[in-house]
């Protein structure tokens, strides 16, 4: 007996509990989770199934809305994406990549530099700076869209890629996350030791700070990329050329046209297939990078 109790207290207490009750709760918990998972996945399943159907097959089919029809048109649909309006879908997708990459990487670089500077350098006005930053996290970014539009149009940047990329370089929450993380993750002693050894400030940043900041960098990068990738209001406001649209705005246009338009403009199958294709990269990135972001997303919580 003595060995059992010494093992770990949890096994001991589990053993004491009536097995039936604990087992029942586990089944209950698992059922709950399964139902939840079903709720979150079924809409995506609709996209998967829908992408294999032809335009008319989406309305009437042997399978119903949530199962495959007897005809399998996925290949036709993908071909349709290449053909409809000269394959503009792929231009949209490329634009989305450009916007997400430029906005994500750019804002992360700025956020990491600023967050590290705020955490590890004592300069005049630092506290005031941080207070302003904290306040700006609460400024709703969409409230800035209309004035940003007017500003960009006076700079002649409306209807260019810059109009989407430049404003998405702003990520106050990213700076905040990096600053909170740097505070604990980079010991001052380590930087001081480096300085005593004669390392320059830049060298300290790249050799000492950056490796320690990796979880924060990955998290901020993911958040910023997702933010740019999802962006809708800003490109909707500042872009006119169909060739410059990201895939979100583009698909929304197709949908609005299909709802309003005559038979030839109804491309439901292409919308469904296009939607599916456009979400694959990000879902794949999240699944592949799991171990990096799972811990990192809770960074912002102040201890």
């Amino acid at each position: 007996m003595a060995t059992i109790t010494r093992n770990t207290s949890s096994t001991a207490s589990d053993a004491r509990r009536p097995a039936g009750r604990a087992g029942g709760r586990r089944i209950g918990s698992h059922t709950f989770l399964l139902l939840m998972a079903l709720y979150f996945v079924v809409p995506l399943w609709f996209l998967v199934v829908g992408s294999t159907k032809s335009n008319s097959g989406l309305f009437v089919g042997s399978g119903g809305a949530l199962w495959f029809n007897s005809e399998f048109s996925l290949v036709d649909n993908v071909r349709g994406l290449f053909e409809h309006q000269g394959g503009i879908y792929w231009i949209w997708l490329r634009n989305s990549f450009v916007y997400a990459f430029a906005g994500g990487v750019g804002s992360t670089v700025l956020a990491v530099l600023a967050g590290y500077g705020l955490a590890k350098y004592r300069f005049k006005g630092r506290n005031a700076y941080f207070a302003v930053l904290l306040g700006s996290v609460m400024v709703p970014l969409t409230a800035l869209t209309i004035p940003t539009f007017v500003l960009l149009s006076s700079l002649g940047l409306i209807n260019t890629m810059w109009a989407v990329v430049l404003p998405s370089l702003l990520s106050p929450i990213g700076v905040y996350l990096v600053r909170v993380y740097s505070q604990d993750a980079i010991p001052d002693e380590m930087l001081d030791a480096g300085r005593v050894d004669g390392a320059g400030e830049l060298r300290l940043f790249f050799r000492v700070a950056l490796p320690l900041l990796r979880p924060a960098v990955v998290t901020v990068l993911l958040l910023a990329t997702v933010f740019s990738w999802n962006n809708f209001f800003l490109p909707l406001a500042v872009l006119r050329d169909t060739d410059l649209l990201p895939v979100t705005v583009g698909l929304n246009q197709w949908q609005a046209l299909s709802n309003a338009g005559a038979g030839g403009e109804q491309v439901w199958n292409l919308i469904v297939t296009g939607a599916l294709v456009s979400i694959v990269p990000l879902i794949a990135a999240f699944l592949g990078l799991q171990k990096y972001w799972q811990g990192g997303l809770s960074l912002g919580a102040i201890k």
Partner: protein
């Protein structure tokens, strides 16, 4: 540390005469290093500061300036200072007030549902370590990786009586499917879309906060006879309160800015969602359909102030939980 002799005579010695003590010379030497390091500090924050000024401070100031002016045919195309006229107009504008009331209603309904569901999932996941629980954690999170536009498009299909499965599902029970896109049901339909989109993200934040708690804390409670739900409510939830506050603020700010989902759903539910359904949509249509940029800026700025004050009050009220002093 090393006190170099070269700085002995530094005039701006950190230690004033009254505070003269052996450490004074050391202070003097670090202050010269400090001034160099101050410069580095500013260097690191400068790139961000430029973007911050250009795309946050300037637009904000410009929006405020525009909200105090009017420009149009009546003023001969010139900007004319009108004081707070636009604000008086906004706060007596039934459309703006209705939109504001509507997003407030969304806050009251949607935020508790989202956070409650996220917390419940996180707490359940925290007690399990099975393969099924890991898989469902990922599946619940997946919608976060789906852009809001795509999410809304997809739900638009699912709600639609033409494409969606509702007819089949309700048909199984011999019932007629409700019209999710009618004006009476659209509120709930929108709540559902946003909940679907965001619960996973909030859940992951809360879940990773729960994982940082030392399990020995609730081992003790369990030995004292506390039940699972008691441990969850009395110990776990208070211990992740700072993450709860963060998630609530995210959800609050996001909801007040409601724009994407109703805009996308509008093309399938034109009758149920007017173009001025939320303040942001109103500002957008004022600016881009009616070219009333001054009044649109007023709406945007007024909404911004609301969000800012709202989240500030919230953070102030919960400063104990969040650890923000």
């Amino acid at each position: 540390m090393t006190t170099s002799s070269t700085t002995v005579g530094a005039p701006e010695a950190g230690a004033p005469a009254g505070r003269a003590r052996p450490g004074g010379r050391r202070n003097a030497s670090t202050s010269t290093i400090d001034s160099k390091r101050q410069w580095w500090g500013w260097l690191y924050v400068t790139p961000f500061t430029i973007v911050f000024l250009l795309f946050l401070v300037v637009p904000l100031a410009y929006a405020f300036w525009m909200s105090l002016h009017n420009k149009g045919i009546a003023t001969g195309g010139q900007s004319v200072f009108v004081g707070i006229d636009n604000y008086t107009r906004a706060f007596t504008d039934p459309i703006f007030l209705a939109g504001l009331a509507r997003v407030a209603k969304f806050v009251v309904v949607m935020v508790p549902i989202q956070i409650g569901l996220a917390l419940l999932c996180a707490l359940v996941l925290d007690t399990l370590a099975t393969r099924l629980s890991k898989a469902s954690r990922l599946l619940i999170f997946v919608p976060y990786a789906v852009p809001a536009v795509i999410g809304a498009l997809m739900w638009g299909f699912l709600y639609s009586p033409r494409f969606g499965p509702a007819g089949d599902i309700f048909g199984l029970f011999g019932l007629d499917a409700p019209d999710f896109l009618s004006s009476s049901a659209i509120f709930g339909s929108l709540v559902n879309i946003v909940t679907w989109q965001w619960v996973g993200y909030y859940m992951i934040i809360l879940y990773s906060a729960l994982r940082t708690i030392d399990p020995s804390v609730y081992e003790a409670a369990r030995i004292d006879g506390a039940s699972g739900p008691q441990i969850a409510l009395r110990i776990k939830v208070p211990m992740v309160s700072s993450s709860m506050v963060m998630v609530l603020v995210f959800s609050l700010i996001g909801t007040l800015q409601f724009f994407t989902e109703p805009t996308v759903l509008r093309s399938v539910a034109q009758g149920a969602i007017p173009s001025d359904y939320t303040p942001n949509m109103y500002a957008y249509s004022l600016a881009f359909s009616y070219s009333q940029f001054n009044y649109a800026s007023t709406i945007a700025f007024a909404l911004g102030i609301f969000v800012f004050i709202g989240s500030y009050i919230f953070l102030f009220a919960t400063r104990k939980q969040s650890g923000l002093k």
